[in-house]
Symmetry: C2
Subunit: 226 residues, 2 copies
Amino acid sequence: MSEPRLVEVRRNVLKQNDMIARALRERFRSEGVFVVSLVSSPGSGKTAFLEKILTLLRPGHRVAALVGDLATDNDAARLKRSQAPVKQIVTGTVCHLEAAMVQNALQDWNLRDLDFLFIENVGNLVCPSSYDLGESLRLVLMSVTEGEDKPLKYPTIFNSADVAIVTKNDLAVAVEFDWSAAQANVQAVRPGMKIFRVSTKSGEGVDDFLKFLAAQLAEHKSTTPA
Amino acid sequence: MSEPRLVEVRRNVLKQNDMIARALRERFRSEGVFVVSLVSSPGSGKTAFLEKILTLLRPGHRVAALVGDLATDNDAARLKRSQAPVKQIVTGTVCHLEAAMVQNALQDWNLRDLDFLFIENVGNLVCPSSYDLGESLRLVLMSVTEGEDKPLKYPTIFNSADVAIVTKNDLAVAVEFDWSAAQANVQAVRPGMKIFRVSTKSGEGVDDFLKFLAAQLAEHKSTTPA
């Protein structure tokens, strides 16, 4: 395996990514937008959850979203139903978003018009973990149907995230989801990590998350240059 | 982005992988073992399905499994309940198995003792697609809880696979899974692809898949050198 050379090239790509991410973070701060990214397995319910959040935030807040996928703009079409501005980033064969893709997508956006910008990453529990996108908050989603062991099996992505969201809680009984085990597994990998348990379908837990987001925004605004 | 240089290095890694995979395939053929790999998202039910298959095949066939994960040997522990020989490959931060990892894991195995060898890949719908492991049959699993659109959103991995398995069919009604849409999406990406619809929990569809596997083995044996 020529792993070492690949690792070296990857390190350079990551270094460059970090520089762009730093510039993005500075731009987000100076233009006063709070940026939240979402990572998860394919099919964990990122898009459905985000559509719900955009719809519920919209009456009181100015929101927008970027969404990454290898192929198709299906997710952008779904998110647009929330009436929020949405832009699709098609990554081709790349299994994660990179800061440069975000920078490029936002080139002609006036971020001062926004309170929240959400960035939905490609569905993948490995690749996105090392790519900083300049976000202020990274959410890692896991659905109850995936089982309780995901934090132990994909520790790096849980470590790269700030908050865990357990989705599809309406199916918890059907799949005999063990909430205590899931919590213990998250804490084993990332002690003190905040966890929300939600169902986009029933709405359960969504309000708690919205309150948390509002508090995060308030804190962010208080440190934003006038 | 220094993508082009990364792409070049990746191409060399893949070339080397293909060479090792070719040698593995030759070894599998000459030692008369039929090798089946499994790819899917994290939490699609690969391990549960494979445990079922190993358990049901064991009375009549000699079976074994390799299982890849970034961290933990939880899956190997689960698969060992089938009483089949199982070996874990821990990939660290690598989001897929490579032929060299398989070669290394099988170094001291006598494959002539086996009818079937199963290789469970890391849970990922992107990275494993370009890595040939020398297998004769690649299964791509998608669970009903992930939604019907996965083939459209991850076309490369569906194209790299021979057969699709729709898992967790016991939850199909609860998640309002649209079977016709899922079939159409698979066919749009990979026309003519064989699809099985199974529930590991209820056992539905598993017999059909076992019959298919037995037929594949018979065909393979008929072309194996004596």
